[in-house]
């Protein structure tokens, strides 16, 4: 089985600060990690490898530093790592990103493509499904459990109020939730191998076939007009009183704030 896992390097915090002037994320001083949903996707791929034998390729689009995330994936047990990097890719929104990743995947063999549900620095949950559309593949998103019966995958797709069990043949794309599993640690030998025996393949624009106008900032239909940090809300206070008392408290509070 050939598996391609798409991963993203993200800042290790859900409390990223924004530069008030440019509206972009301040990444300096924040350690980078593999996006948690993606890491669980990688773990799912490695479990398939352990049980059935598989060749696992990790793919990421990003700046040169994203190499660290790929090394980590190799040290966990991935077989091949590809870094898609080019100035032409800079400023991509989800559409441009998925076009680029899909173009790269077209150069690879696969039975299963795994992407994390969404990245903690963007939360769009769009890239995985868009790749499936570009590649005309069946897709199952929000996967929390994966089983393989030798020919098809049996997937548990979760919703807020329940789940579906979906059986899907190869090839297909799934997006995974971090709740799916507990990703393994890198192993000592895995780390040595990641640096001494395995290579990070670097692919640029010239290595993929893609419509140029779909790429980067230019190719991104999303335009960020303004971004801002949401003001922090205070915890609030709960009064357990009867309705008359409650009404009085509300009116008093509104008066106190000069709202009425």
């Amino acid at each position: 089985m050939k598996i391609v896992v798409c991963i993203k390097q993200v800042p290790d915090t859900t409390e990223v600060r924004l530069d008030p002037k440019t509206g972009t994320l301040i990444r300096e001083g924040v350690p980078s990690i593999i996006n948690p949903d993606d890491k669980s996707g990688l773990e799912a791929a490695l479990q398939l490898k352990d049980e059935f034998g598989a060749h696992v390729t990790v793919l990421t689009m990003g700046p040169q530093q994203a190499e660290a995330a790929l090394r980590e994936a190799l040290a966990m047990g991935a077989d091949r790592a590809i870094l898609l990097t080019d100035r032409a890719f800079a400023g991509s929104d989800t559409w441009a990103t998925s076009c680029t990743l899909a173009a790269a995947i077209k150069n690879l063999e696969y039975d299963l493509i795994i992407a994390g549900r969404q990245a903690i620095d963007g939360d769009t949950a769009q890239v995985g499904p868009q790749i499936a559309e570009h590649l005309n593949l069946p897709q199952v998103s929000y996967v929390e459990d994966l089983k393989y019966d030798g020919s098809s995958f049996i997937l548990k797709r979760v919703f807020e109020d329940g789940y579906h069990l979906v059986k899907v043949g190869k090839p297909c794309l799934i997006t995974t939730l971090k709740e799916m599993n507990e990703p393994r640690y890198m192993s000592v030998m895995g780390i040595f191998d990641a640096y001494r025996e395995k290579q990070i393949e670097v692919w640029n624009l010239k290595d993929i076939t893609v419509e140029r106008s779909y790429l980067g900032l230019e190719g991104s239909p999303t335009k960020v007009k303004k971004s801002f940090t949401k003001g922090a809300k205070t915890a609030g206070k709960v009064f357990e009183v009867d309705h008359k008392e409650a009404a009085k408290i509300i009116v008093d509070k509104l008066k106190e704030k000069y709202i009425i």
């Binding site: 090394r71 980590e72 890198m186 030998m189 895995g190 040595f192």
Partner: protein, 379 residues
Amino acid sequence: MNFKLSQEHIMLQKMYREFAENEVKPLAEEVDEKEEFPVETVKKLAKYGWLGIPIPKAYGGAGGDNIAYAMAVEELSKVCATTGVIVSAHTSLCAAPILEFGTQKQKEKYLPPLAKGEKLGAFGLTEANAGTDASAQQTVAVLDGDEYVLDGSKIFITNAGYADIYIIMAMTDKTQGTRGISAFIVEAGTPGFTIGKKEAKMGIKGSSTCELIFENCRIPKENLLGKEGKGFGIAMKTLDGGRIGIAAQALGIAQGAIDVTVSYVKERKQFGKTLSYFQNTQFQLAEMAAKTEASRLLVYKAADFKDKNIPYSNEAAIAKLFASATAMEVTTKAVQLHGGYGYTREYPVERMMRDAKITEIYEGTSEVQKMVIAANLLK
């Protein structure tokens, strides 16, 4: 000279820390309190390759260097010195001498299961009447046909009872003094080999420290490690390597104590201010940090010399002498900075201070390290 860690070492450190934080630290208090050998942790360490770090890939190891190994013991010992010494004794005192002095057959037989952590290793030199004076060995090994027959006993053996493979020193010729000592590989379960009294210790309570008893214990002739009469040299060289492990353990204990103290003094308030505000706290911490960093450089230097095949006996002795004294000093200060709470088992510094003491004693006392260092100066 390069003081910058390689990318490889940085990634190892990251993994070591994540593992130690999630898998080892939560058990440290219980392991100490119940004096329980952390069997499950050792299995996990095996799974991720911690038990064969400096063993070549050809023998099932990770093919790593001794700095990577020292860093592993350091990171484990930051949160649990018991776990640190299990790895150190296994690697430095059992796998390493087989790698260095073993025949091809011995290496092929014993190293893969040790490096993969399927089997655990231990080392037996000390006897009731042969501590620092290791030459006063009374355990004897007599060649009888194709077998050596071992009789005698060893004390204070780390990993005893849990180990599967033991490197044992015994006299093959009593008339020759240290030149009459030979080294043997003895497997657990060999008839005549039993585990005796378990020691009740001050620190590293989760590590198993027991007596080994040999009564008419017959082992195959091919389990002689190195040549007959070369055991003392093998033991001394093995301990040179072991000192890097113990110095790394001491370094880890010191760093661990600093880490918990830094968070404590930022929270604990007296006279309306956090302890971190007071200059005494700052100066104590600064001294603790400076000595710990010096220890780190000494430990890494000794490990680096070993990797580069430069004689490192003196460096290992200096590293162990300094790092163990630092561990003792830093943990004592850490307890003091914690005040009354530091003396209770509610905070880990109490355990760390008890754990630190042994690093000045085992695998050559601080006095032995001074003898090695002075002999090197005065030769």
